[in-house]
Assembly symmetry: C2
Homo-oligomer: 344 residues x 2
């Protein structure tokens, strides 16, 4: 039994947009005008607006041989919302623009939009517009996220001060290990298509790669406990690279401790299986979409109730540089490529 | 003497962004935080926000064999601003995201950004963010424009009423004829690279294709003269297709008159040279980025001082359909593909 396939050309550009947005409902009072005109109209009266955008290109940012379209739609939204949360703001609207090759059917796009709408529902954001065109070169996704924040309550990367504690949410490195697993299975499949994939019950690291979440809960926790980070960003390029951004923009140095870096047990075991160092994966892996932030030492007590937040080090003077202290007590410089000394 | 060529890889992703935005200055009080963090922060206190986005893909939306990068940067901004003006709003900020293949040099990107900044200057908008990544498939441009409008003063496509006058700014069809000219020259060049291009002093139609402008002046005129259109959109797909959008969304019909459609003399002559009907080019050509709007009849007198606005017809009941009256007095239905009967 073959699945139904509706050609995109049978709907036309405007018919396709109507089809994909036919069940779109908006929930925010700030969403005045949504899909279907030249632009969307928003009214965030009394708030500041936060805007971010990410461009995702097939075979650069994702591989459709192992990425379900539903998850890709979900992830395309989440990676943008993560940037909004990283400003200490609350996302409210998104736009989605697509370049679509005609190897896609309408049913395939429906799956992609299922993922988009699922993310909108979960994170309470409205889809308010976008642009759809053909692409002769694969699937291209451009998402914009718009959020709001009380005036001057946004958190940048440049406010870390000497003595501040360096915190991360969740755990690090698992998405990268999920990527290594999927790439290995893809290679095996291409060489021997009859071999069944061996995903080794690695649900956790695969989910971290294919269906990441943005840390709405952490921002809510910080707000409820009246903790305002001195600096914050999301971990998209790996802890090393991202922490170095904060150090550079805040004009400070840092020390982090290997034994404090949160790594999920499944990630740790799979790293060992690949003869990789789990810490190197956490430092350089990327795509974790956790929050990295600094707080004043006097806020430390308030963090203790939240097991999802780890204190991994502290901020120093700029002339101290940026370092990691290993479990064995050795001190290595952090580099944007991660902790090279650790890599095998 | 060869031009200097700096490889993008020599700067790295973050170095490239720093380089491209090194002279970026922001001018709007509403631009609180610009390039360099997870997101931009805007404060349009007391105004409504208008958001639009366009995705431009190489060989779908532009052809680098005859499109100077400087003009492409300029046009990428302008097509988005045009959507903001079409809402009766004023653009204030843009973001620019790029997918760049490594056949581009840093110098080539500098040219592209020259065009971006020139448009920002001319239209008084701030560049506040974006995303830069590699692309294995050609040049990809995603621009977001953000504008502001006094509460509930935005103009949609659904407000046209029976008896309203149908107006267009500037002239129509020239960009399409510019495209035909450039495509002809490209074909000739590919067949016989030694033949010099014959652009026939067609500056006007080439400029309309490669370096269009958004009709800021028309929005300012309407505001100064306290004219609020009942519906408005920009002409990007051709007068026929776009007017049919207004008719559908406003649930009305329309009549337009062939002899009222504004067509530039250069466009008319070049159409004849290609044995095309100039009216068909205006109806179906697209990419003119003029404004199409409807106004109540009592506003007619106020328009007379502006030679850049033509009244091309009027709005009827929906059951009258959508028609064009030819110079010869015949009545033809308007179709989304343009006035098919006229096409040769």
């Amino acid at each position: 039994m073959s699945e139904p396939r509706t050609e995109i050309s049978s709907l036309g550009e405007f018919g396709l947009i109507d089809h994909l947005t036919r069940n779109n409902e908006t929930h925010h009072a700030s969403t005045i005008l949504s899909v279907g005109d030249d632009a969307a109209v928003l009214d965030h009266f009394g708030k500041q607006i936060v805007v971010t955008t990410d461009l995702l290109i097939e075979d650069v940012h994702f591989d459709l041989t192992y990425t379900p379209l539903r998850h890709l739609g979900y992830k395309s939204v989440v990676v943008n919302l993560s940037d909004i949360y990283a400003m200490n703001a609350t996302p409210a609207q998104i736009t989605v623009s697509l370049g679509i090759s005609n190897r896609f059917s309408v049913e395939a796009l429906d799956e992609f939009y299922d993922g988009i709408y699922t993310a909108c529902e979960k994170y309470n954001v409205d889809l308010v517009g976008g642009d759809t065109s053909s692409s002769n070169k694969g699937f291209i996704i451009s998402v914009v996220a718009i959020g709001e924040v009380a005036p001057d309550k946004f958190v940048k990367r440049d406010g870390a001060k000497k003595g501040d504690l360096i915190c991360v949410s969740g755990d690090l490195g698992a998405a990268y290990l999920g990527l290594l697993l999927m790439e290995r299975e893809k290679r095996i499949f291409l060489e021997s298509p009859s071999v069944q994939p061996d995903l080794e019950n690695q649900d956790y690291i695969i989910r971290r790669l294919l269906k990441p979440e943005a840390r709405k809960d952490i921002i809510e926790f910080l707000q409820q406990n009246q903790i305002t980070p001195t600096s914050m960003m999301d971990v998209s390029d790996g802890l090393s690279s991202d922490l170095l951004h904060i150090c550079k923009q805040s004009n400070v140095g840092c020390v982090i401790y290997e034994d404090k870096i949160p790594i999920h047990e499944d990630a740790r075991l799979f790293a060992f299986k690949l003869e990789l160092d789990p810490t190197a994966c956490a430092l350089s892996g990327g795509e974790d979409y956790e929050l990295l932030f600094t707080i004043g030492q006097d806020e430390y007590e308030k963090l203790l109730t939240n097991e999802q937040i780890s204190v991994v080090g502290h901020v120093t003077d700029a002339d101290q540089g940026a370092h990691i202290i290993t479990r064995g007590g050795n001190k290595h410089p952090l580099t944007a490529q991660g902790w090279n000394a650790f890599k095998k």
